[in-house]
Symmetry: C3
Subunit: 663 residues, 3 copies
């Protein structure tokens, strides 16, 4: 694991299999070049059928069998899906949420602060980890699964929240004022009088509660990490499969969709700290919707969180019918992950299931449990990967651009949405996608991250809640020569989602050479001939160049895009949403301002780069189209051995991928 081989594997559930085919599965895996499985994270009720009675026979058998086939195992703690007996024992195990008490059935329905839950969770974690940590082929642990706070908001949680608020604000006066609770008579004279925030109409108060809830989730992960650390070997990692906001594409009531921007239910920036190997779950559109954007976004977020390292704990094989891959696409997806710096890829999951809510979320094998086209493509990749392990060892990416995200801004814009159907993540991805398609590689940084050294270009989409430290960092960055491109809805409110009462963009009107006070919906408004949509700030230049103006009978005197030189750098501001193609020229100008040296290729040819352990540049050339494409790059194809001289035309197959190492 780690440097010696690239992780390639799948989640494996012997518990779900309709008959004993463990040996057969291991053989098929080995034949496909899969070297790792993840087990045990979903079946607490099998591992502990009655309170305190453990049965790890499946776990043992699978580890044994894997060992026989040279397959590594990641053991997951089974705490995200609780047994029926646990809820029967203490109904308080179910989280009380905004919607009231829950019903037993789904996963991720528990109150992660409930003492009964924690007691039994601790029991099964200790039993499982103490047993498996000794096994040589167990390479690491996944603590819990796609962890979030699940909206927990019952009485005990609220009591803790009131204490947390008291500690945070000191006095009720300070809190009342910071959150604007006077509105509609919501002030309190005592922290104990704070009402259930799930009923509130005060977005600032609600945002505080969301922060608190996310802290509970991170705390829960730390708690698990601490327990696992008591048992694990130094060479075993601790991971969690961090996932994303989600856009569902399956029929109503069914599981299935894809990653869509940053995760609101836990703060990745906090959560990643207790992990020794960041893992992530990335699902993405496929067929004609496969653009690689979701894969790149995931990697660009995870890599900085993991200090340059992460792996893909889950991604689709066949997936739901909506994403059954075209030939070549699965392979392209794997290399796209590696292009982002992933240390490997695991499928969810090995075999299509015959029951349960995800039985049409298909694995590498179909329901007939025999190899089919998808197995065959996985096998092709499995045979190629060993050739890549050495040249990709120690691969590091050094991006000069960063895109700034904030889960606080996400929550706040959920309360103060720019428009129906346009959320924070939509704006983030709109900007990210434009950069991605121009092959401007970005790291994705959380706004709390203070280290911006090495970056020349910052992209700041919809950073609604911008506190003073952040504002000052932006100022310093541009003053020192950096280039910033920010969008509408940025620099508007403070950390409590309270709109600043000075001119906007707050404390940055000199930097942007612009201010705005009025806002409206774009109706029959264009920018460079293309329709503006959703939200438009009426930008008034005060020093800035109006790079674009609104085209409209009344709003034509306001700028839509501004550009301003400030200190040694330059600041761009985009006041409305325009089509990606309209945005791109401004992004290119900002990239040029920042001195970025971009590949000439544009989407559907994606070029992503890094430097390997040997210090050689590695270039991934990815073709996200069903047609043949040509890229221009030099180096040696690590898979075919072809050598391309500088300036050579490198042909790319439909949905093809090449990895070139510097000659």
């Amino acid at each position: 694991m780690g440097q010696d081989r690239l992780i390639f594997g799948a989640a494996y559930y012997e518990e779900y299999m309709p008959y004993d085919r463990l040996e057969q599965d291991m053989e098929l895996m080995a034949a496909a070049g899969l070297n790792t499985i993840r087990i045990a994270e979903s079946t607490w009720s099998v591992e502990e059928p009655r309170p305190g009675e453990y049965d790890f026979s499946h776990v043992d058998r699978v580890i044994d069998a894997a060992a026989r086939h040279g397959i590594s195992v990641i053991v997951g703690t089974p705490t995200y899906a609780v047994p029926a007996w646990l809820v029967k024992l203490d109904p308080g195990v179910l989280a009380v949420t905004r919607d009231g008490p829950g019903k037993y059935g789904p996963r991720q329905i528990m109150d992660i602060t409930n003492p009964t839950y924690l007691r039994y969770a601790e029991g099964v974690i200790r039993a499982l980890v103490s047993r498996t940590a000794k096994r040589p082929n167990v390479v690491g642990f996944q603590i819990d699964n796609e962890t979030k706070h699940y909206g927990t908001a019952g009485p005990r949680v609220l009591a803790r929240f009131r204490k947390w608020m008291a500690a945070r604000f000191g006095t009720v006066q300070a809190m009342n004022e910071a959150l604007g609770l006077a509105y509609w008579s919501n002030t309190v004279a005592d922290f104990d009088d704070l009402p259930d925030p799930t009923g509130t109409i005060n977005g600032s108060y609600a945002c505080e509660f969301a922060i608190f809830q996310r802290e509970l989730a991170a705390e829960f992960l730390r708690w698990q990490a601490d327990i696992v650390s008591e048992y694990k070997r130094p060479d075993q990692f601790i991971s969690n499969n961090l996932d994303f906001d989600w856009r569902s594409i399956a029929p109503a009531g069914q599981q299935g969709g894809y990653a869509h921007g940053i995760q609101p239910g836990i703060d990745h920036y906090d959560a990643a700290k207790c992990l020794t190997l960041v893992g992530t779950d990335v699902y993405c559109p496929s067929q004609d919707g496969l653009t690689g954007m979701e894969i790149a976004f995931a990697g660009d977020e995870m890599r900085p969180l993991g200090g340059g390292r992460y792996y893909v704990a889950e991604t689709q094989a066949q997936g739901i019918p909506e994403v059954t891959p075209y030939p070549g696409q699965l392979r392209l997806m794997v290399y796209s992950h590696l292009a982002s710096g992933a240390r490997g890829v695991m499928y969810w999951h090995w075999a299509s299931l015959h029951t349960g809510p995800e039985n049409w979320f298909k694995g590498i094998l179909g329901h007939d449990l025999t190899p089919g086209p998808v197995y065959e493509e996985v096998q092709r990749v499995g045979q190629e990967l060993p050739r890549l392990a050495a040249p990709l060892a120690g691969l590091r990416k050094k991006n000069r651009a960063a895109l700034i995200v904030s889960v606080e801004a996400l929550t706040a814009l959920g309360w103060f949405p720019p428009d129906n159907g346009l959320g924070y993540n939509d704006i983030v991805l709109w900007l990210y996608r434009a950069a991605y398609e121009l092959n401007i590689e970005c790291d994705i940084l959380y706004a709390r991250e203070e280290d911006w050294s090495g970056y020349d270009l910052l992209l700041i989409p919809a950073l609604y809640t911008a506190d003073y430290p952040f504002i000052h960092r932006v100022r310093d960055f541009v003053k020192a020569g950096g280039t910033v491109l920010a969008t509408f809805r940025s620099f508007t409110a403070d950390a409590h989602a309270r709109i600043y009462h000075g001119a906007l963009p707050h404390e940055l009107t000199d930097l942007f050479g612009m201010r705005w006070s009025q806002v409206t919906r774009p109706v029959d408004v264009t920018v460079d001939g293309a329709p503006a949509s959703h939200w438009m700030e009426l930008l008034e230049c005060a020093g800035a160049e109006a790079a674009a103006k609104y085209e409209h009978k009344y709003w034509g005197r306001y700028a839509a895009v501004t550009s301003h030189s400030f200190g040694g750098g330059r600041a761009w501001y985009v006041g409305t949403m325009v089509p990606g193609e309209t945005l791109k020229p401004y992004l290119l100008r900002a990239a040029a301002d920042a001195g970025l040296d971009l590949p000439k290729e544009r989407f559907p040819v994606i070029v992503r780069q890094g430097v390997n352990g040997a210090g050689k540049a590695v270039r991934f050339l990815l073709n996200f189209s069903g047609g043949r494409q040509t890229a221009h790059a030099d180096g040696t194809d690590l898979l075919t051995g072809e050598r391309f001289a500088p300036g050579a035309a490198v042909p790319l197959e439909p949905w093809g991928a090449r990895i070139l190492e510097e000659n």
Copy 2:
């Protein structure tokens, strides 16, 4: 009743009338040729205004008046709409459902297993039936009304369910495995630990509960039938108005819509067993939406359930504004019912109501309670029907085609839907409608029906849950020379909705000469140039002819429709949804394979046939269009007396109907 005259009548509610007009109503009915009314099923609170205090004065008066006018009466037990006092006496009378406890107000809100409910229901049934069974003009009883399980799922129901599960599976191990409860930690170690299935995410578990709930409904009907049997005369029938799945077309919150496939809330196959005359409620689109399909479907389902006999207990007269009939349509609808073998037709309802939630669901009379265009058309039919009673006596239909339905498949596909907005009944009706429009008359058989003798063609839409006995019957049928046409989503899962782990179509790959493993959504996919939609199985021929292939850049190598000779017969499989016109050629080929001799007419001319008691063929020629049409048939028009020689052109008026008896 029965052979001597065709039932023609209406539901009648003296209780709802704004003033005493009983005599006037009876006169108007008699003048219109109505010979039957149904009474009493909706007004328990009038019949028992306080616990144990009965007042049947309306019932008595109406039976008396009807008798004076030669009108027969069907008495309904008033158990589907409970009085307020009953719920006040025991709030547990209200069913606890997936949505929690209910509120008093609507009909069909009770827990049909509640002892208080059953005690008072029994009381009013006994009082009503014992009183009315003696009356000569009472020809039968309707037990309850459009009976279903109403989602009852309270604690007592769950306790019974757990016992039922224990009896069904024997051991928890067997149950855990059969239902795949290991998924997300849902296994239990004791049947008593089984959680409330209304919260489950396990479709197999939910399907078991639905089966159990439907059994409760059938049991409730049997219980009523047994009570009625203690009192009724041998010549009096026991009926229930079985109804269908429902598509609403009224404004939100209003009643109104039409029958749309088989009923999920009770299993007709079970429920019909305690009835001596199957009744059914059929509502259908009208105006330009009148195709007769819903009428034919209802008849084709009810006739086999009733052993060749059934009657229409309710159908619309004026109905809601959406279905106000064009001139001629009401008459056409009546003959369409008779063409399916109905022994008569009753309207819901005699007079438009002035209050209540169905006051814009109009009857034969409008709110002014005087004859209008609809009364006049009803009267025309009422005057024609006596001429038909003798020639239609003993009418039997002998269809050589059957279409197989399954309420278990319906429930399962509700959990594993082919697509948003496409349910089981949509697929059933898609296939049924194509057959109907080609004048391929089918019996509709429940999958549990074992007797397929007499059939040469089986149509099998979306039979997702196909157990081994069924699979074997299909095999035997084709081997013996029969023709089968099955569609996507058939032969996929077992009786517990667990997907089979062998190749699909399960245990029938040799029969179909085809297997499939991959499935996707059709996007830009055509079949014979027409768009495929919703779901496509990628069929791989293994012996079968690819009668049609998918037209698509990647999926073009897979078949969309396959045809395969097996044993003495032939098996067709349609892997995706295509427009009806694209489906029809394959259906015609299958009908030809089966040796069916079809009329040359096509929709909008519908031809339906039977053999009357005198052994003569009777042919119904129905014109579902606003234009004149011509059919080709011989025989004597039973209404006009016209004789048509073989090959004669028989003219049909707009929305016209003729009934020809073999010369």
Copy 3:
């Protein structure tokens, strides 16, 4: 206040301000010509931070400062938004509604009959009013805010309702019959058995409950008025800001929309009686959606309720992004209000807020709290208004047309909707807008209003619940020479929403020379070539002229619009919904029948008229378009001093307004 100056001002919330800028705000207001503020109505928790501990420091400070700048103050009682401590003290303060118990957070969530609520409300009202009534610049009180019943339906409310029903109907028999409770077994034998009406399916029963709930709201206002009357000076008024039904246009979950027809949650006709100055809140579309219709409607409803006087307590300044005004529109809106007879206009609100759910519902000042384009336009109006105070003093409007509305019909049609997406208010506004655009000025009268003297034309849209007194008044009105134009869904049901059982339009078939019994949906139906929609009554002429017939293959024999001479007058009936342009010719014919002398102008030029205290005609010429327009009128422009001779062309600027006084 009153005759001496026109009210011009804004709601002002010092409690919400991020820093002390009271003096600055007062200066900015005075500079803009604002002369009135409304305060205190939203912040009970600030005024009474703990039970019984009052803190009116904000109130005092603001009244002091206002006094210094010659600004009048309206003090609002803060009872519509309850403090958290009050709900903690007695959770029963929260209304139990159809949706169950509420959660603390929003405004207007309390049970207005709860004793604890009333006790503390009384306390704060007495403390606030007794303190402020003495202040010279306090000109009046607003009791509560946009008061409604908030759906209160808890056990105590239901107990009162049962008593109310007993008093209303006398016997259960009478009630059962009047409401048609027999339907689906809903009759009761005792008023105490009446079930919770929030669960009912009986629209008549539900309508009774709505009437009862509205009476609670009016009673609550009277109760507050009585308390305030104990303290207020004779020159101080009592007001409430009556508002309207609402169409939301903001993103989901956000506040923002516009007035859309009459208010269902309180009966304005009752509620206005305890007010000495009727106030109203009017929000309307803006930008290209600004037509002035909502403003005119509000005025035309309020003016009769207030005996010819009313003022606008709230209207938008910048408002939500959807309604950011074009240049000139705010000024046009003010003059539109005055054109309806308003004694002044107050903005909601002075300054954009930085927190709370309405922080993007912007005031006169933006978030930067400095003057911008909107302040500047307000200032222009503020500088013009003093010139108008004298000539507009005592302005009276004498409309010869009235449009009849009924909140009972609104509730009833909510239960028996003409169509999805078409409610009572849609029909009211469809007819009102057609009249408005033709410059047919109407008073809007509640159906209970008995005095129709002075009117020559009555417009009666969808008056579903028409009782006998009303029917008789209509008959007398036409007999005496009046003209009536009624629409579909009128004269259908009695006061209990029970459909009449005689011919329709009930007891008026001779008056209209027409009856109808059948109704349907218009599909491919036109009237004068334009599509009919939603609902069509098939009108059968019996004496009336078929002014228009339905154009359709089957319904062509029925009339769509009828006209009939009766007594000395004429009665028109429109049986379906047609585009406004199709309706207008008939409306013009009815206006001609009534002898109305209409301006020649048509929308977008709106002409509204009155007679001022000096007995001179005053004519408002309003241009609701972005182009220049010309009107024809004579008189002197009160703002520019220009004199126009009879027949002169008066030019109107884009979104311009002129006020001409008779020479």
